[in-house]
C-alpha cells in the first residue's frame, strides 16, 4: 500500500496503540493535520499552547503507562514543546513528540519558522531524529516508541520536514520488530548482585526501603509491597514514587527530603541498610550529600547504570528492571519480625506523619488537601499538581493508595504542568475522577487550557489554593531573605510598599470564578473555613469540569523544611 509521510505517522500511532494525540497546527504540519482530518480511532485534542500538548502527553503517559504523544509545528510551535519535553526527560516519562520542520531543501537557510529542533532538544531527549528520507520514517517511528517506552523511559523527538510528510512511500508496511544494535537495556538483574543484596538485607538491623518513580515505571508496586511486609521495613517514597506503596499502610513513613517527614528523614540518617529502588538521589531528597545516611550500607536497584553512584556511593548496585529484580530478591529473603527499629520508627512517626497548626479563623491549605483526600479516597482518583507549596502539601497530606494516581512535575519543577497533565490523565483514563491541585501562581501559567477542557468536556476538577503569592519563593524569602518579598506578591507585583496581609488595597486578579464562567466551567469559591467542605462537595458532585478556589492563609509555610544544602537532620519545624 502506498502512503504519504503524514499517513504513515497516523498508521504508526495506531500500530503503537496511541489513541489520543495532543496537537497544535501550523504551516509545516498542515499536511499532517489534513491526514488527521480522516483519522479514525485517534482522538486529536487541540490544545491552546504547545507546552500544554507536551504536558498533556506526559499526564496521559503517567496515568496509563503507555507512551504519550504530541505534535507541533516547526519553529515556535516546536520550541514551545521543549519545556514539556525537558520535564519528561527529568522524570523519565515516555513521550514521543513530533515536530514539523521546514522542507529539507530549506534546512539551514534560516527559513520562516525554522529552528534546529534536533540541536535544541538534544540535551533533554533520550533520543531524537531528523527525518530526511521517507524510507526511514517507518523504522524511525518504530524505534522512537521502543526507545521512549523501554529501559529508563524518556522523551523522543521526531523532526519531520514538510517534504517528507507529503512524499509517498510505496508498498509501505509498518515494521513488526525493532532492533537497535547500540541499545539494549538490561532487564534481568545479575543473580550474584541480587544474592549480595539479600545477604546485606538479612544482616541489617535497621533496614529502610527507599523507593521512587522507577517502581511505578516498572509496575513493581506489588513486589515492593511483598518486600516491605516480608522484612517489616519502613517505606519512604520520593515525590515521584508516591502511590507505589499504600499511604495508609503502617510501614509507610512519608516522603523524605527537603519537605519530607521527620520519620523518613530520621530513618534515612539512622538506618544501617537502605534498599533503594528506582530512585536517583536527587538533591531535594538527600540534602547535603556528604552527611546523607551516614550509617547506611546502600543497595541500589535501577535500570539505568548511570544513576548508580552518580550522587551517593552505592555498596551493592543491581542494574535491571525493578520488578524483575524484586521478584528474585523476595525469593531469597526470609521474613523479619518487628524490632526495636520499628518501634523507633513509629515513635518518630507519631500519630500522623505530617501535621500543622489547625485553625478555623482562616482556610489552612493543608486542611483543604485533607478534606479533598477524605472526599475522594474511595474513588480511585488521580491527583495532579502544579509546582510549589500546594504540591508539597498534596504530597504530604494526600495518602496515595495506588501507583499512577499522583502526577506531578518532580525533577524539572515545572509550574503550569498540572492543568494540561490532568487533561492527559483524564483522557487516558476515561471515567476516573481527576483532580488538579494548583496554586494561584502555577494555574496561571497554562490557564488557557481551560478552553481545551471546556470544549472537550474533560472532567477535570481544579482546586486552586489561592494565597495571592508565589508561595514557595515567598517562603524562601521569608526564611532566608529577610522577608523581602520581591516579585512574589500577586497583588502588588515587584514591590509593595504598604504590604500587610489582609490590608492590601490592591485588587486581586483574576477573579477565578468569573474566569471559570467565561470558559463555561462552573466555578466555586471558599472564603472561610466553613466553606471548604461545601465547595469541595459542589465541585466534585457536579458533572464535568469544575473550578474550586480556596482563599487560604496567605503566609502559610511548608514544614518541615530542610534548608538547601543542609543535612536531613537539620529540618526546620513550624514554630
Amino acid at each position: 500500500m502506498n502512503k504519504t509521510g503524514a499517513e504513515i505517522l497516523i498508521d504508526a500511532l495506531a500500530q503503537e496503540g496511541v489513541d489520543v494525540l495532543f496537537a497544535y497546527p501550523g504551516g509545516q504540519v498542515i499536511p499532517i493535520f489534513d491526514a488527521l482530518y480522516d483519522a479514525k480511532g485517534l482522538k486529536v485534542v487541540l490544545v491552546r499552547h504547545e507546552q500544554a500538548a507536551a504536558h498533556a502527553a506526559e499526564g496521559y503517559a503517567r496515568a496509563t503507562g503507555k507512551v504519550g504523544c504530541c505534535l507541533a509545528t516547526s519553529g515556535p510551535g516546536a520550541t514551545n514543546l521543549i519545556t514539556g519535553i525537558a520535564d519528561a526527560y527529568m522524570d523519565s516519562i515516555p513521550i514521543v513528540a513530533i515536530t514539523g520542520q521546514v522542507p529539507t531543501s530549506y534546512i539551514g537557510t534560516d527559513a520562516f519558522q525554522e529552528a534546529d529542533l534536533v540541536g535544541i532538544s538534544r540535551p533533554v531527549t533520550k533520543h531524537n531524529y531528523l527525518v530526511k528520507d521517507i524510507r526511514d520514517l517507518p523504522r524511525i517511528f518504530k524505534e522512537a516508541f521502543y526507545i521512549a517506552g523501554s529501559g529508563r523511559p524518556g522523551p523522543v523527538l521526531i523532526d519531520l520536514p514538510k517534504d517528507v510528510s507529503v512524499a509517498t512511500f510505496e508498498n509501505y508496511e509498518y515494521p513488526k520488530s525493532v532492533s537497535i544494535r547500540s541499545y539494549s537495556p538490561t532487564i534481568i538483574g545479575h543473580p550474584k548482585q541480587i544474592e549480595k543484596a539479600a545477604e546485606m538485607i538479612k544482616a541489617a538491623k535497621k533496614p529502610l526501603i527507599f523507593a521512587g518513580g522507577g517502581v511505578i515505571s516498572s509496575s513493581a508496586s506489588e513486589q515492593l509491597f511483598e518486600l516491605a511486609e516480608k522484612i517489616n521495613a519502613p517505606v519512604t517514597l520520593t515525590l515521584m514514587g508516591l502511590g507505589a506503596f499504600p499511604g495508609e499502610h503502617g510501614l509507610f513513613i512519608g516522603m523524605p527530603g527537603m519537605h519530607g517527614s521527620r520519620a523518613a528523614n530520621n530513618a534515612l540518617q539512622e538506618t544501617d541498610c537502605i534498599v533503594s529502588v528506582g530512585v536517583r538521589f536527587d538533591d531535594r531528597v538527600t540534602g547535603h550529600v556528604g552527611s546523607f545516611a551516614p550509617k547506611a550500607k546502600i543497595i541500589h536497584l535501577d535500570i539505568d547504570p548511570a544513576t548508580i553512584s552518580k550522587i551517593v556511593k552505592v555498596d551493592v548496585p543491581v542494574v535491571g528492571d525493578a520488578k524483575n529484580i524484586l521478584v528474585a530478591l523476595n525469593k531469597l529473603l526470609t521474613p523479619r519480625g518487628v524490632s526495636e527499629w520499628n518501634d523507633q520508627i513509629n515513635a518518630w512517626k507519631g500519630e500522623k506523619i505530617f501535621s500543622y497548626k489547625h485553625s478555623e479563623k482562616s482556610i489552612k491549605p493543608q486542611f483543604v488537601i485533607e478534606q479533598a483526600y477524605e472526599m475522594t479516597k474511595d474513588k480511585d482518583a488521580i491527583i495532579c499538581t502544579e509546582v510549589g507549596q500546594h504540591q508539597m502539601w498534596t504530597a504530604q497530606y494526600y495518602k496515595f493508595a495506588r501507583p499512577r494516581t499522583f502526577i506531578s512535575s518532580g525533577g524539572l519543577g515545572t509550574m503550569g504542568f498540572g492543568l494540561p497533565a490532568s487533561m492527559g490523565a483524564a483522557l487516558g483514563q476515561p471515567g476516573k475522577l481527576v483532580l488538579n491541585i494548583a496554586g494561584d501562581g502555577s494555574i496561571q501559567m497554562n490557564i488557557q487550557e481551560l478552553a481545551t477542557i471546556s470544549i472537550n468536556k474533560i472532567p477535570v476538577k481544579v482546586l486552586i489554593l489561592n494565597n495571592e503569592y508565589l508561595g514557595m519563593v515567598r517562603q524562601w524569602q521569608d526564611l532566608f531573605w529577610k522577608k523581602r518579598y520581591s516579585s512574589t506578591c500577586l497583588r502588588g507585583g515587584t514591590l509593595c510598599e504598604e504590604c500587610a496581609p489582609g490590608h492590601c488595597k490592591k485588587h486581586y486578579v483574576p477573579d477565578f470564578v468569573k474566569l471559570a464562567e467565561s470558559y463555561a466551567i462552573p466555578g466555586f469559591r471558599a472564603l472561610k473555613h466553613a466553606d471548604v467542605i461545601p465547595v469541595l462537595r459542589q465541585g466534585l458532585e457536579i458533572d464535568g469540569p469544575a473550578i474550586m478556589e480556596f482563599s487560604v492563609t496567605p503566609e502559610e509555610n511548608v514544614y518541615p523544611m530542610v534548608p538547601a544544602g543542609k543535612s536531613l537532620d537539620e529540618a526546620m519545624e513550624e514554630l
Partner: protein, 160 residues
C-alpha cells in the same frame, strides 16, 4: 585528576558528534582531545577521546556515553597497554644559519621536513603524545610559528 583515553564506537551518521560533544559540555566533563574517523565498517566511526578526571568521573563519563543511543561500544583503556599515536605539524623560525642544527634535532625524534621556506621549516611527526610534547618543548627556543596537532588515536595492544 588523571588523564584517560576512551575509545568510542558510534553510529556513523549526522549528529552523532554533537551528541557526544554535548554530553561532555552539559555534564561538565573536560575533553583534552577528540578525534573521529571511519572504521573498517563504514557504518561505524571510532572516536578517541582523551578526558581528564578522577576514577569516579571517568566511570560516569563511560556510563553516560553508553546511555546515548548512537553509541555502540565504549572502551575505557584505563591502565591497559595501548598503542597510541598523534600527528603534529610544527612550523618553526629558521634561517640558513641554523637550518642544519634544527633539522638534526628533529631527526632525533624521527620528524620529517614537510616544507622549507627562507624563514621557516615545517616538520611533521607522528609519535606518542609524550614524544610529541617533548619535541615541541625542545624546538620551542627556536621560535614556534604554529603548531597543529590531531589529538591522540589509540588501539589496545593485541592479547597474546
Amino acid at each position: 585528576m588523571s588523564i584517560r583515553t576512551i575509545s568510542v564506537l558510534v553510529e556513523n551518521h549526522a549528529g552523532t558528534l554533537s551528541r557526544i560533544a554535548g554530553l561532555f559540555s552539559s555534564r561538565g566533563y573536560n575533553i583534552a582531545s577528540l578525534t573521529v574517523g571511519e572504521t573498517e565498517d563504514p557504518t561505524i566511526s571510532r572516536m578517541t577521546i582523551v578526558v581528564g578526571g578522577d576514577d569516579a568521573v571517568i566511570e560516569q563519563v563511560v556510563k553516560h556515553l553508553n546511555r546515548l543511543i548512537d553509541v555502540i561500544k565504549v572502551i575505557d583503556f584505563g591502565a591497559d597497554p595501548i598503542i597510541e599515536r598523534e600527528l603534529v605539524m610544527v612550523r618553526v623560525d629558521s634561517t640558513k644559519s641554523n637550518r642544519h642544527e634544527i633539522v638534526e634535532l628533529a631527526q632525533l625524534f624521527g620528524a620529517t621536513v614537510a616544507q622549507v621556506s627562507a624563514t621557516s621549516i615545517t616538520f611533521e611527526l607522528s609519535s606518542t603524545c609524550d614524544k610529541v610534547n617533548n619535541f615541541i618543548g625542545l624546538i620551542k627556543p627556536y621560535g614556534i610559528k604554529e603548531v597543529v596537532r590531531t589529538g591522540k588515536i589509540a588501539m589496545a595492544q593485541p592479547k597474546k
